[in-house]
Amino acid sequence: MHGDPDEARPPRDALQAQLFPPWATLVARLALLALVLLPLGLLGLLMALQYSPYVTGQGITPDQPVPFSHEHHVGGLGLECRYCHGGVEVSRFAGLPPTETCMTCHSQLWTNAAMLAPVRRSLAEDRPIRWRRVNNLPDYVYFDHSVHVRNGVGCTSCHGPVDSMPLMRQAAPLTMGWCLGCHRDPAPHLRPESEIYAGHWTPPADQAARGAALIGHYGIRTAHLTDCSVCHR
């Protein structure tokens, strides 16, 4: 090598020296940056999407054949959960009330309300009202209401403040990660038996100690709560 070839050697021809304009360097650098950032950003977007209500359904209020208000019936009138969802303590499915349950009151009250026409038709035709599911789990998830309410998990822990919902909406994301949050560490969410159906429950200051005691009280085998076969059978 003789001297610095960078400066000593002139370009072979003028065209070659002008192959790229000065701003090409900036474009090249930006392109290299984009080559890394764009795919990463796209992946990040895809990952963020799975947490959005668009995928999880959280916060979504489906239309119902009758605009039944939990806020009015539970919060206002003080009906208890089990008055309508009678299967919750003994069955996998909490149960939807038969039309007769509605009619215990509505055979006397608001008997001509247009809003309740589908309820009257259901009774007359002996055909159940087709409610639309709000909290829907995939078919490969074995979820049992009874095992939850009998072991210290209250209704509102998953369903949210039902007594302030004019129309029912999905309160929780219902993702597997959300389920695991409690299954990995149930103590902060466990209630005494008297509070299971309470409309509002705030953990007491000493919940850590109480939760640990409640695990013993209900006999929860925490070591097995995250086994695959607990939810996937």
Partner: protein, 449 residues
């Protein structure tokens, strides 16, 4: 430096001659008729490969001969075989650079391209074999709303990481070596389009002393990183088998045995491609008898290491005394796959013995024949590792044989079309020989014009 290194570089090729020899087929001449014929044929076969893949995705893996006992079949054997081919390129390039073997310069570029293409094709087969190929991304650890991670104890997850890092690394290593040659093409190209295309790809390379100094430093550092990576990628493939509890697989020799097997088949494939490339591009002045001689020696040495591996396998199965292991060994030699096993031993152990003679190492038809036989033998080895063990497991009532289907054969055969297509594009668009490296060798050896 070996004695051979004192020979001057490629004969009858001056500094500018080397560049002309390599760059002209890319820039100067229009594609020859035989290139077009090869391109069209390879394109047709590639379409067939795409058809096979589509049909597997639509109809499911019931198309293959896999059954409830022999759950792995052609796709896994093809995968191991292709990734083995993909091992040699980076090794030739890196290890021979670090050990200062100057003959590397003429063959490393296309060997690395071979690595990239073979490893990419290899990566397709495990996905096809999944049964639910659209779930392949589950192998990647990514934050998800299920809060689930891949099973870190599964060799398949290690495999995914090993192949992904190997592919990315091989690409970067190959591209780094290409940069000075891309700049040469930029400067020699006549059309403005070609000048711009190669100019963009050359990243503004000017060939200053500082450029060269940095390029060499990074290239050598990457070569040092590449060698453990080459070893790790096929070791992990070996662990796919050895991490299981099946008789015939649970041997600690598997990772090194797989690495040597990979280099063995990879070198054989480099020889095959070198013969074709030399004929197709007229590179007789660059790829010389000396290269075939050296590669023939490597194949012969690898054949002996393979023999040692087989002997160790047999000895340990007998010496370990486990009835299941001994059963698999007996099944290998006397079972229904025994003729294939004998063919494999003939291809892998006997055929390379021809390469003891220099006259035969430099006799291209003989060398090419041995290389093809070695690749056939290595494919047989991979399929027999799967068949022998899985067909002869612990439960005699569950023992089944594997019957390959038409789709098994078609998928394997047409995958060569994709490889050929990629390789044909490569030789048409990029310099198939590392021009700057060949010339540097010539300069260092005092052979510069």
């Amino acid at each position: 430096m070996s004695a051979a290194a004192t020979e001057p570089g490629p004969p009858s090729a001056s500094h500018a001659g080397v560049i002309g020899l390599v760059a002209d087929p890319v820039l100067g001449r229009p594609a020859s008729r035989r290139w077009w014929i090869a391109f069209l044929l390879a394109g047709l076969v590639t379409l067939g490969f795409l058809g096979c893949i589509t049909w597997v995705l639509v109809a499911g893996i019931g198309l293959y001969g896999n059954n409830t006992t022999v759950v792995w079949g052609f796709p896994i054997a093809n995968y191991v075989w292709w990734i083995g081919i993909g091992n040699a390129g980076t090794l030739i390039s890196a290890l021979l650079l670090l050990t200062r073997q100057p003959w590397r310069a003429a063959i490393n570029r296309f060997a690395e391209a071979m690595t990239l293409f073979a490893a990419s094709i290899a990566g397709l087969f495990p996905i096809l074999h999944l049964g639910r190929p659209y779930r392949a991304y589950w192998l990647a650890p990514y934050p998800n709303s299920m809060e689930l991670w891949p099973q870190w104890r599964s060799a398949l997850v290690w495999d995914f990481a090993a192949i992904a890092s190997y592919l990315i690394f091989s690409f970067l290593f190959w591209y780094l070596g290409l940069i000075p040659d891309l700049a040469t093409l930029r400067d020699r190209a006549r059309s403005r389009g070609a000048r711009l295309a190669y100019g963009v790809l050359a990243f503004g390379w000017r060939g200053s002393a500082r450029h060269w100094q940095r390029h060499d430093a990074v290239y050598r550092a990457m070569a040092a990183l590449a060698v453990p990576l080459v070893v790790s990628v096929h070791s992990v493939v070996g662990l796919d088998f050895a991490a299981s509890l099946m008789p015939g697989w649970q041997e600690s020799i598997f990772p090194p045995y797989f690495v040597v097997g990979a280099l063995f088949s990879g070198f054989a494939m480099v020889v095959t491609l070198a013969v074709i490339l030399r004929w197709g591009l007229g590179l007789q002045a660059l790829i010389t008898d000396r290269h075939f001689d050296a590669m023939g020696k490597v194949i012969l040495a690898a054949a002996w290491v393979m023999s040692l591996s087989y002997l160790t396998e047999w000895f340990m199965a007998w010496y370990g005394g486990d009835p299941a292991e001994r059963g698999v060994l007996r099944f290998q030699f006397t079972g229904p796959y025994a003729p294939l096993y004998a063919a494999m031993l003939a291809c892998n152990l006997l055929a390379p013995q021809l390469l003891w003679w220099r006259r035969l190492r430099t006799n291209l038809p003989v060398l090419l024949g041995v290389a093809v036989l070695v690749n056939v033998g290595m494919w047989l080895e991979r399929i027999l590792i799967i068949w022998n063990t899985l067909s002869h497991g612990y439960l005699p009532s569950m023992r089944r044989l594997f019957q390959p289907t038409l789709w098994d054969w078609l998928t394997l055969a047409t995958s060569f079309g994709l490889f050929a297509l990629l390789f044909l594009c490569f030789v048409r668009l990029l310099p198939a020989v590392a021009m700057h490296d060949v010339n540097k060798q010539r300069h260092e050896q005092g052979g510069a014009a």
